[in-house]
């Protein structure tokens, strides 16, 4: 079953196509990585999925619901590259707000917040205001927000950027655990080494076009690493040293 279905999606800014006729499906219960160099159109695609921008043509369905409808975002959690929220909120306050926006009951919300903070190792920060936290601690708060609510689909934009090695390891463990719980994870990244370790399916986007979409295993079966395959596909005229 597909959680995300993207068909004939086009978006242009001025005369250049940022996305040209993109078709993509993301299967339920898998970790899916959208890979591409800078300027490939990855962020535009994520924004279209989240209805933050409007497509010129085509459609995005999230759980069979058009992405321009609020219902499509039920059971969806999004983590931007740099999580940010108003600095006067405490860590617990942010998570309470996110839970309220997802319509959680108070008792359920309290339990979920405690569990999420324990998992992210930020329980001792719960009463600290965001303005007093380090970047890494704020990002962990953002990660904890993904665990609030009955989310079936997690969308993370460049999740590994700015994380230290421990943070990276923790994030990979959390994502794997969420997959085991049956959740679908959509990652937008260009950190290929990390992606190769955790993702099931990949799509490679370059200059607004999908160059490859399929399982990671298909690539590995060709005897190439994800990095080499990506490099060949995106820069076919360059040789690997």
């Amino acid at each position: 079953m597909n959680v995300i279905e993207i068909s004939s999606l086009k978006k242009s800014y001025g005369q250049d196509f940022t996305l040209a006729d993109v078709n993509l499906n993301v299967e339920s219960g898998k970790i899916f990585a959208l890979l591409g160099p800078n300027g490939a159109g990855k962020t535009t695609l994520v924004k279209l999925m989240l209805n933050l921008i409007k497509a010129d043509h085509g459609q995005v369905l999230i759980n069979n619901t058009a992405s321009n409808l609020a219902q499509s975002r039920m059971g969806l959690a999004f983590l931007p590259e740099k999580f940010n929220f108003f600095p006067f909120y405490t860590v617990r306050g942010v998570l309470e707000f996110f839970g309220s926006m997802k319509g959680l009951e108070k008792a359920t919300l309290k339990q979920q917040i405690d569990d999420a903070m324990t998992e992210l190792n930020i329980l001792e920060l719960q009463n600290r205001k965001l303005q007093t936290l380090s970047k890494g601690q704020i990002q962990r708060t953002g990660l904890a927000s993904l665990l609030i609510g009955d989310n079936k689909l997690l969308i993370l934009d460049e999740p590994f950027s700015g994380l230290d090695p421990i943070g990276m390891r923790d994030l990979k463990d959390i994502l794997k655990k969420q997959r085991e719980l049956g959740k679908t994870i959509f990652l937008n990244s260009h950190v290929l080494s990390e992606m190769e370790q955790i993702c099931d399916d990949v799509a490679i986007l370059n200059k607004g076009e999908i160059l490859f979409s399929g399982s990671l295993q298909t690539i590995l079966n060709k005897g190439e690493s994800l990095e080499d395959y990506f490099y060949h596909l995106v820069s076919p005229n360059r040789e690997i040293r």
Partner: protein, 274 residues
């Protein structure tokens, strides 16, 4: 999955209030208004001690309230503009807008909560300032300066500030804080100018001697809510003054143009790329 819509509305309105409550401008205006009211109270008390006649007391109490009413109305307009603009602009500036719009809420819901939260704060400021003035001026003049018709006046000012917030909200979707603020005051000035010019004309005279400026004035007069009428009416009701207005026609016009303004704002926010 069922989402509790009311819980979302409450959380988002509360979030707007918490955010705007930290506004330095609000804190400054709140303190300045309180000091001004206390100063007014002391001056009135001194005046009453030197003129203990009861007739003078009633007039002085009402006059002081009248002056305060004008000041409070002006500050409410300023705060409504600031909050209407900053309720959205700060979401852009802090790059938090993405978080809000990826919740399972419609953009209309986001807009409504931001507007209602801002309006709640402005109205609370208005009520606080007005009631404090009325209480202290009543004590100083030893007469009751608060009357039932004041409630109607307060309700009218609530409508006025609500409309100002909506206009500010639209501008803030496209412009930075200061340009939005200037645009808001330009809009209010144009609405005021056009209504004051057109109100003296008979319906048949609207198209007579039509030039560019008159045409702009006529368009503004017809399609914008005549918000200055609302504040004029609020003053007239408060001080039992007469005002030349066709209330049925103006109410209908206000209802239609305000509905159109909300409808237009919804279209704008729905179509906007973030």
């Amino acid at each position: 999955m069922n989402i509790k819509i009311n819980a979302q509305y409450t959380a988002l309105i509360k979030d707007t209030i918490l955010k705007e409550l930290r506004s330095k401008t609000l804190i400054f205006i709140f303190i300045a208004t309180t000091l001004l009211i206390l100063l007014g109270h002391s001056l009135l008390k001194m005046y009453m001690q030197s003129n203990p006649d009861s007739g003078v007391a009633l007039i002085s109490g009402s006059n002081s309230l009248s002056l305060m009413f004008s000041i409070i109305n002006f500050w409410s307009l300023v705060i409504a503009g600031i909050f209407g603009i900053s309720s959205v602009r700060s979401d852009f500036q802090e790059k938090i807008i993405y978080q809000y719009l990826t919740f399972p809420i419609s953009r209309f819901q986001y807009m409504t909560c931001r507007i209602l939260g801002s309006w709640f704060l402005v109205f609370t400021y208005y009520l606080y300032s007005y009631l404090l003035s009325a209480l202290l001026f009543s004590l100083a003049s030893k007469t009751i300066v608060l009357h039932w018709n004041h409630l109607l006046s307060i309700a009218l000012m609530a409508i006025y500030t609500f409309l100002v917030i909506i206009i500010s909200f639209i501008y803030s979707l496209f412009a930075e804080k200061i340009p939005s603020f200037l645009l808001l005051f330009a809009t209010i000035a144009i609405i005021s100018f056009s209504t004051n010019t057109m109100r003296v004309l008979e319906f048949g005279e609207y198209l007579k001697d039509l030039n560019f400026f008159k045409m702009i004035g006529l368009i503004v007069y017809l399609i914008f809510p005549r918000i200055n009428y609302v504040s004029e009416l609020a003053s007239a009701v408060m001080f039992n003054e007469k005002i030349q207005l066709n209330l049925t026609l103006e109410s209908l016009h206000l209802l239609l143009t305000s509905s159109f303004l909300i409808f237009f704002t919804n279209i704008v926010i729905k179509k906007k790329d973030f």
